[in-house]
Subunit: 147 residues, 6 copies
Amino acid sequence: MMEQCSSLGKIALLVAMAEGGLIEGYVESAREKGFRVATGKVGSMDMQKIIAAVETAAKREGLVDERYRSQHALYHAILEALQGLGRGPMQLGDVLRTAGLRFAIVIGPRILSDKDDLWIAVGMYGMIGAPIKGHEHEVCGLGINHL
Amino acid sequence: MMEQCSSLGKIALLVAMAEGGLIEGYVESAREKGFRVATGKVGSMDMQKIIAAVETAAKREGLVDERYRSQHALYHAILEALQGLGRGPMQLGDVLRTAGLRFAIVIGPRILSDKDDLWIAVGMYGMIGAPIKGHEHEVCGLGINHL
Amino acid sequence: MMEQCSSLGKIALLVAMAEGGLIEGYVESAREKGFRVATGKVGSMDMQKIIAAVETAAKREGLVDERYRSQHALYHAILEALQGLGRGPMQLGDVLRTAGLRFAIVIGPRILSDKDDLWIAVGMYGMIGAPIKGHEHEVCGLGINHL
Amino acid sequence: MMEQCSSLGKIALLVAMAEGGLIEGYVESAREKGFRVATGKVGSMDMQKIIAAVETAAKREGLVDERYRSQHALYHAILEALQGLGRGPMQLGDVLRTAGLRFAIVIGPRILSDKDDLWIAVGMYGMIGAPIKGHEHEVCGLGINHL
Amino acid sequence: MMEQCSSLGKIALLVAMAEGGLIEGYVESAREKGFRVATGKVGSMDMQKIIAAVETAAKREGLVDERYRSQHALYHAILEALQGLGRGPMQLGDVLRTAGLRFAIVIGPRILSDKDDLWIAVGMYGMIGAPIKGHEHEVCGLGINHL
Amino acid sequence: MMEQCSSLGKIALLVAMAEGGLIEGYVESAREKGFRVATGKVGSMDMQKIIAAVETAAKREGLVDERYRSQHALYHAILEALQGLGRGPMQLGDVLRTAGLRFAIVIGPRILSDKDDLWIAVGMYGMIGAPIKGHEHEVCGLGINHL
């Protein structure tokens, strides 16, 4: 699916859902199409730490600069992805659950053919559940914002 | 990614994200692994119509039967997917936005290797935005429930 | 339980949960203890109609007067009870579900022995589910506010 | 009310609302009708601790087993009951309030006469308020899920 | 307060709160400082109509152009202001209440002295209440987004 | 605007938005009209501390007494103001943001000319953002309750 993929959000989701060797190939493929991509993983019972992990990955890769403006865009894209993660309460440890996620931040036009303004997408995919081994199921989130 | 895919939620997301000829192949691939799959599309400013479209597709394909129990499981999986869609307010036309979605309902174990109880996943992927052509961006949702 | 019951919220819940001949006895018992009580039933896919039914019952029984102040107290007690009813989205038909409820509005001290200021409680009990016969389960809500 | 009571949610609420000697009698009455019941009490400013207390009581009484499936059903029934408790924000200490609760977990058919599948109900009843003695009012919550 | 006012959000609030002859003076004062301002009023039981009224005023005044990007920024600023308005459920008629508002949309730097990127603020002020004359109290909302 | 201002909520907002020497003048002006006013400031990543700061200011100024009733009214007015502050999740540090606020608590009739019952308003105004200097924008909240 990645080869034909030309939209920002789908790229963020596919990279977040990729495993092992597939990840680097997907990231490369997205970069060749002109998208900027950062990726990472995080496990926590703290929403705060998940937000910080995504922000750190984005900064390290140069997807956001020191201006508040770009970080504000990223922050709200993260919050929107976390709504898909939380599916109601935007809480983890506070409601006795934990999450292990892989995430991708992607910058580019909404659709390749559209060459419009730049947007930012945050895709998350992983497991959520009780702090007991194996007591978890999949979860995903996608947030998109204008840059 | 679909070939190696052995988890319920990822299958639901990949089928929902597939386009054109890819869809049928993905559905076949999932069925060969033992998952039961229904898929469909819906566009509306009404959350109610989106819920009804998913429920109808699941019934038509025999994924839920006439018992309340299975429909209760499906309903709450849909509501959870809609949280990713709405990212806060679980409303569409009421807050002046519309959505065009493709969705997949998948039944099977959480992970192929685990052969545990049956679970149900609802994946949604599409566009959300103002009721103005082109004023939209991608959105996705995933809900998972025990059956 | 009703005989020993001396607290506002429990009375509202017990009256809302009572059926048939029990209702009138419970209401009488509460009134003898000095509580003012109104009760009613409503079935709807509209939150708006449920709110209106409770407000109408309270007015008819003289539990609220024409001043905004008392109606503001009642309104917020209703909204709080509806949170227990909705358990997340405060919506019914919009998310394809319907509710059939019995409710009670009770005015009095929080606890009989405390003779403090007057408070208002709204208790709701009934069934919520899909608009399909038998596809429903119990639901309850309790809202309490100072008067 | 308990004698005639034949529905899952009402039993959970009545047991949670019972005091003193009444509790054991109500639990016995429910068990004679074929329902399985666990009960307990918890006071905390931590949602997390309330969830853990209910889960522990359910496990100790054998209402859930080691499989994720049954614990997933219980967890979501708890979360729904907590919505009635929180009436908006699903937070306690974070918004400077504390709760003291009695709770009941009940497993059985939705209605005795229906002998359908097993469902699980979580009923909670108690006091919520500021961390100041006497500055509190009643609160209740009910969550129901298919097992 | 308006003369010394040099921040985006405060200007949006003050203009929305101004009455009669004061409005035009406040708008002029803000424009002289370099802010772009649109203002209007709307009364409705429909969140949708309030959103549409703000969007229309912003377009008429040229604060947003035909590109999705600027309308996306405005839309989310409106949604955030509506959270202050709704204080929980982002609903009006659905929960039997109505609102009469004056609003202001302001574009400029966050603070005059900072000459950073352009941001957009939506301020709302008015009355919310039951659909009964006089049964209403004040309400306000402020949403701010990067442009 | 303050001179002509005769409504409870607008006074709370204007006092919260005032700076420096303006504050005392605004408070005096409100008191001369018969309103009771308390004011303060607080910065925190903890919703809990913001609530406590407002409650403490109200008590110190004698706006609420030792009875639960008046503190219940204040508490819910604060929670409503915090909805405008949070604009969705009612969380600060948990979602990696911090707030610096000035607030005002005002008691009086809803409108001077109406001499009806006493109501309480909580107005908040300040900055919210990432825990990085300058990465913040304005925020406001208003909660109103019958006393």
